[in-house]
């Protein structure tokens, strides 16, 4: 079952990758191309893409406007696929960044213990104390306004690096804590003593002895991290602090769609279904991976609150 859902996720990724192909070859529209005055052939006659009272056309189930248009006359299918690129790009990058940060923090805190550990734990506790969405929204809003400049690194306002960074930071404690615990247990094992007796320094011991043993924990966490990151991205975009329109993301498509629920429900339903399919496929796949690698572990389907 897990494999089937893993395959589903692979198909979704392939669809996202094929977005430009669909855009240029099938729909012949770009994701941000407005078309409020154009017409499209339906039932053998020309129909307005957006009617005079502002109601966009519904799904056509072929070529152009496969899933209908939005209120600006943009092709929903094209936007959906480009939105998939954004959601997946942000979700996967954020999850990888979280993994990187959490592994580094967990390794250093668990290995050196003492005051290093105390500082690391206190930092994690502070992030942990924030309600996830509140911290995400606060950071997102603050960064969206003016961007961020840290030394040579410059992030523009509206850049996708902002949601990636926000999501990555918010989730670090949920992953760093278990990794730290594992490092604390691993460092007492004989093979670590053996490596030290052979003269390996801390860096070398971490890289060659500890890291490989953390791999299964990280692998179990990764699909679930990506699932949660995609969900948080959609929530941030829905609240207007994630991906900035007109650049599409499933979250901001739903945000725009909710206002038109009465006349054009497809604007809300379609991106939501994609979101559920993607997150569900990752969750079932991750659940299977966990069962295979670590059957006694707690089900960690949900990270964060």
């Amino acid at each position: 079952m897990a494999l089937a859902f893993g395959a589903l996720f692979a198909v979704l990724v392939a669809l996202a990758l094929a977005a430009p192909l669909w855009s240029s070859a099938v729909a012949e529209r770009s994701p941000e191309e407005n078309n409020t005055t154009g017409t499209v052939e339906a039932d053998g006659r020309q129909v307005d893409v957006v009617s005079l009272d502002g109601i966009p056309i519904g799904p056509q189930w072929r070529g152009e406007y496969f899933l209908g248009a939005d209120s600006n006359g943009r092709d929903v299918m094209v936007r959906l696929l480009y939105g998939a690129r954004n959601s997946l790009l942000i979700g996967i990058s954020a999850a990888l960044l979280t993994t990187l940060l959490a592994t580094a923090v967990g390794l250093i805190a668990g290995w050196f213990r003492g005051w290093v550990d105390a500082v690391a734990r206190a930092t994690l506790d502070v992030i942990w104390a924030f309600p996830v969405i509140l911290l995400g929204v606060a950071l997102g809003t603050a960064l969206a306004l003016g961007g961020l400049t840290v030394g040579p690194l410059e992030i523009e306002a509206g850049s996708k690096a902002i949601p990636i960074l926000v999501i990555a930071i918010v989730y670090v404690p949920y992953m760093a804590r278990p990794i730290r615990g594992e490092v604390l247990a691993l460092r007492e094992r004989e093979f670590v003593d053996a490596a030290r007796a052979q003269g390996a320094g801390p860096l070398r011991t971490m890289a060659t002895e500890l890291l490989p043993n953390l791999a299964s924990t990280v692998v179990v966490f990764l699909p679930l991290m990506v699932a949660n990151a995609i969900l948080l991205e959609s929530a941030l975009s829905f609240l207007g602090v994630g991906v900035v329109p007109p650049d599409p993301s499933w979250g901001n498509m739903i945000d725009a769609g909710v206002e038109r629920m009465v006349t054009a429900p497809h604007l809300t339903i379609v991106p939501g279904l994609m979101l559920v399919l993607t997150v569900l496929s990752l969750n079932v796949f991750g659940d299977g991976v966990r069962d295979a690698l670590d059957p006694r572990a707690e089900p960690a389907t949900r990270v964060g609150r």
Binding site: I133, A142, V258
Partner: protein
Amino acid sequence: MARFAARRLAQMVVVLLAVSVLTFLIFNVIPNGDPAVRMAGKAPTEAQVEAIRAQWGFDESLPVQYVETMRQVLGGSAISYFTQLNVRDEIVRGLPRTLSLAAGAAILWMLAGIALGVLGAMRAGRTSDRMLTVLALTGVSLPVFWLGALMVHYLGFEAGLFPNGGYVPLTESPLDWAYHLLLPWTALAILFAGFYSRVLRSNLLDTLGEDYVRTARAKGLSERQVMRRHVLRNSLIPIVTLWGLDFGAVVAGGAILIETVFDLQGVGQYAAESVGQLDVPPVLAITLFGAFFIVVLNAVVDIVYAALDPRIRAT
């Protein structure tokens, strides 16, 4: 034990202090904008901006501003930059709504989680267990704002079965109160029940392997009695812990999305609106209030655990 509790409480105060400083910094250092300019409205004169700056104390140094803001937030005299309303009054106004939402939803998701978890554990490995797993994971995978929007539209607007958002105080009419909250309760419960059923199922399966369960079966108890008297009771502890923490998190701002979708105007929606306007005093107050909830509940859980299990105190 007393020393452990004292240390845990001291830790709590430090964390809260750090949370307040961090929140203050997020809004005062990261956005390169000037709050006085934002507040002055369209095309202000330099003199107007200066006047606002002096009036609100934006011309002071950051540490002074922080101390002053915190004094107002804790003293209950903080005022929103934009609506000019007292922040404490607004939170007090929204709190019953948020608490009603969280309490009802928490009861629902606990009951649903227990039912689904027990069912899954008793049928472990069979097809029905697999179906339950997918069902639970679907609940976890639903974006709450999307689910809420669909519910409001199809069950509220189209079918007319439920009111279109809004809130009626419990003291006014308990029936209307529940009627207005039923949809948001359900939406939130669907989200959490899946996770609870997964955790409970795995705890139940662990407990089912214990020796005392074998003994209970050997003395002739039915599978039902074994489950209820011996297995379920012992497996519920972690769930109850989780329950406390999640309840706190929902009250503490986790309800931002659901309150916005259902227009409940609780603390979460107040937070969402204030954050959007970079309105520092309410955001600081709500974040602190939320962090306080989470940190206190975490500490209580730790202390209770330490009281029950002396081995934990050492770490």
